[in-house]
Symmetry: C2
Subunit: 529 residues, 2 copies
């Protein structure tokens, strides 16, 4: 049962008078339930509760937090079809995709549970005392990562489960020991409520403090900005558009106290189509990319929006086949009318820019909230002279940049903005011949891929889902994979601290059995006295 209330710790609150409703992009109708927008007082209450909860939650053991995350996963699964149906209704995504995304959400929670049990993510470092050192004795110095405090999470529209209420940001922030406040995404408030209640239930069941998790409904400019500027918020995770991401980032610069902002925003994920590869496999690469460009109506942060190739016959062949393939792919439902509207606006704007040629553009099915594929072509010269051609068109559109020679190709890469991914489609001969271009591209991206598509982000230890600006606001971080946990922690150093007061991770006997760096060497041994 959807209540439409804000979930503030263990309380469900709805004192406000303004409401919002979800929209079903398939039926093109508003859904019946109303969601009460949080009042300014409710926003403050959520932060106050999170601040108080932090004092308790930060002291929870890794095992307790692991069980909490697993319980959240179980509660989400326990919602059964109700959750799946609601997420489908609010996103227009097919049931199969949502079912897969639920599995991913659950897997992420379990991944962080295993990261907690393995335990070495805290980067425990111990330099034992050297009382006899000359000329001065050395104190006993130990440090480890500790949580930051209440974390604000802005979920993404395009992953109503895996990048949302209990998504990667929430899971990693909770894992690190921080309370979380979610500013519910306006596109899927019902999905949000169901998951938020699952988290609330898990928190109670696991004896977690009131306020370890809250979820607030409202708009970004109101609730979002109030939260961003609140002194109780100690870090922010965001996934969404460049416009909103930079608005959050800019608002943070107005705070007296700067805090980490992990905004994952805008990426067109360039693909370097090298000549030997295209000569050998223009058609199959084109078919592969037609699928990648249109997957999920192109609504992935890693969607390949830019294809870069040399002007030759194979590239012409590639373009022809890609165009044919895309024209055979029907328009599919996009996440919401706003995204659909902007998709067609941005794609038309792109098509009108100087030197841009439309190779294919499916009909604009705005009323049906469906996105049709499109492919555009531009010369390297035009691309280089107009950085607006790099503006992301969120949806199933790609721009092919044709370079007359290697120098132009180098110049195109030199001009690129920061990206989540870069892909090289290459034969061995290409790798040698274009090694400079490949190196240059790797400097622009967080993840460099050989002979595959960038869509599909594996949730694993080695994943890097981040990159230079404007892909993210923090080049040092990943929002997917095990390393995401360190975003919400900071080192704290204990000097000459008494054994009984040291955190378990830093005690001599290593009761957690974790990897630690002692006198510069990684070991699971106890500290020798």
């Amino acid at each position: 049962m959807i209540t439409g209330k804000n979930i503030i710790g263990f309380a469900d609150v709805a004192e406000g008078t303004d409401v919002l409703r979800a929209y079903n992009p398939v039926s093109n109708t508003a859904l019946p339930e109303t969601f009460t927008i949080a009042t300014a007082a409710e926003v403050n209450l959520a932060v106050d509760k999170a601040t108080a909860a932090f004092q308790v939650y930060r002291l929870s053991s890794p095992e307790e937090r692991a069980v909490f995350l697993e319980t959240i996963a179980a509660e989400i699964l326990g919602l059964g079809d109700v959750l799946l149906e609601r997420a489908v209704a609010e996103s227009g995504l097919p049931l199969g995709r949502i079912t897969g995304e639920r599995m991913r959400t659950v897997s992420q929670l379990k991944l962080f549970a295993s990261v907690l049990r393995e335990g070495s993510w805290v980067e425990a470092v111990i330099d034992p005392a050297q009382p006899d050192r000359t000329p001065l004795p050395r104190a006993d110095i130990r440090k480890m990562l500790v949580p930051l405090g209440p974390v604000l999470v802005f979920p993404a529209s395009n992953f109503p489960l895996a990048f949302s209420t209990a998504g990667g940001d929430t899971a990693s922030a909770l894992a690190a020991g921080n309370p979380v406040i979610v500013k519910a995404h306006e596109s899927h408030p019902g999905t949000n409520e169901l998951v938020a209640l699952a988290i609330q239930k898990a928190a109670k069941q696991c004896g977690m403090p009131d306020g370890v998790f809250s979820s607030l409904s409202g708009t970004g400019p109101a609730i979002g900005q109030q939260l961003v500027k609140h002194h109780g918020i100690k870090a922010i995770g965001f996934t969404g558009s460049f416009k909103v991401g930079t608005a959050i980032f800019d608002a943070v610069t107005q705070r007296p106290e700067p805090i980490p902002v992990y905004a994952e925003m805008s990426s067109i994920n360039p693909v370097l189509l090298l000549p030997a590869k295209l000569a050998a496999a223009a058609d199959s690469v084109a078919k592969q990319y037609a699928q990648s460009i249109t997957l999920g109506a192109g609504q992935f942060c890693t969607n390949p929006g830019l294809l870069i190739a040399l002007a030759d016959e194979a590239t012409t062949q590639f373009a022809t086949t890609l165009q044919q393939e895309l024209s055979a792919i029907p328009a599919i439902t996009m996440l919401n009318p706003g995204i659909c509207y902007h998709y067609y606006e941005n794609r038309e704007q792109l098509s009108r820019r100087k030197g841009v040629e439309t190779l294919y553009a499916g009909g604009a099915e705005r009323e049906a909230t469906k996105g049709s594929p499109a492919l555009y072509r531009v010369s390297a010269q035009h691309f280089i002279s107009n950085t607006e051609l790099q503006q992301e068109v969120f949806g199933p559109t790609s721009l092919l940049v044709v370079c007359n020679n290697e120098a132009e190709l180098q110049a195109v890469i030199a001009q690129l903005h920061g990206q989540l991914t870069g892909t090289i489609m290459a034969e061995d001969a290409d790798l040698t011949r274009f090694s400079g271009a490949i190196t240059a591209l790797s400097e622009k991206v967080g993840r460099i891929i050989l002979n595959n598509v960038p869509t599909g982000v594996e949730v694993c230890y080695a994943m890097q889902h981040g990159g230079p600006f404007p892909a993210t606001t923090d080049i040092r971080s990943t929002s997917v994979g095990a390393s995401a946990i360190v975003r919400f922690a900071r080192p704290l150093c204990y000097q000459d601290w008494p054994a009984h007061l040291l955190p378990a991770a830093l005690k001599d006997e290593n009761p957690l059995g974790i990897w630690r760096r002692i006198d510069g060497q990684l070991t699971k041994d106890a500290v020798r006295k």
Copy 2:
């Protein structure tokens, strides 16, 4: 021989017409040599050279960079007495202190050389391909830290060697594979030139690229701001005042592309003097702190500027002894007339704030550029109601906050700004009774110390020299110790990358013999095929 030129890669350049000179605070005279301020064109040249050098330097092996750092250390030692004498003349610091600081500078360079040889700082993570996984195969995914690009370093006034031209920021940035541009500190331009030339010589000797290191003279508002805003600069290290640090931080927010800024700024390093400890040892603690407060004329970032105690007889006794001890310590030369001027201005401003009582204030020896000790007292109530009492007085001054009860003591701690260090002076009984206050203080600091003084920062693996704002602009970082290296790196992920093109740290056979995380487990093993 001092030339007064800017060191731009392998060229010594002085096209400008404006000059600056160093000042000897002991003799109170300007030193004869002039240093030519870099022109805007020279600033751009330095960044262009650094950008070009990055393409080569980033590919250098850990061993090559280790040898480079060791060669810099040897060249610095090779400067002999010329360097020591110049640093003494430009800082007013005693020869013994400068000699010790030179050793620390050399040790830091060697520490990063050993970090490079141990090699695991790159955080290599490997998730090998799982071609047979269902429903979808897993790609081969590997990541490691790679350098960011040209790093801008603003040296500190108070460590003309160890936090300066070849100090911790430069050493860690070079170690991570980044070219460095130093904006020479105006207080010690001669020391800077000598060290810059040593680095230049080492770079040539080690076959490093032209532009791997540059040093530019000029003022912060001109040269500094031009550098901060230059798109070629990819990270900034700064040590200095809150005013200059936040000016740099604010300027960075004006850049189109945000970059990491590690500004270590303002900290008054609170000391919690707990009652059982003072009852047992008021006099010896007072004597210990008199030394710590006045060490190096109080010109340390970890100088204890705030003492917090309960109102009782032992605290009165402590204050009396501290006052006596301080009155027996003569004024000593400060780093430069500007610091000395601000010291007395700030101390007098503090003394005039509401509720502040002067317990001791040595004579203001402004003309002699000498800083005399001072001790002030204020009630918790006044302290809590006026955050201006937390403004750093850089020099040998401390403020004693007297709390009527534990609740006031808690409120004082709750009110504290972020700090580099916090110290607890306590007996076992205090630790139990004040556990809440101790926890609260630990949340405000980067390093928490038991029964010692905060001055003296060990250069080791476990050191954390950082903390919540305004102590630094990035709570996640340390500017001292081995971990400082990761500030200047970012993760890069390679997906399905061919073995022969993978960096050595990520190759199957682990040719560097480093610790890596394979399928989530730390190991030095090769990847099993």
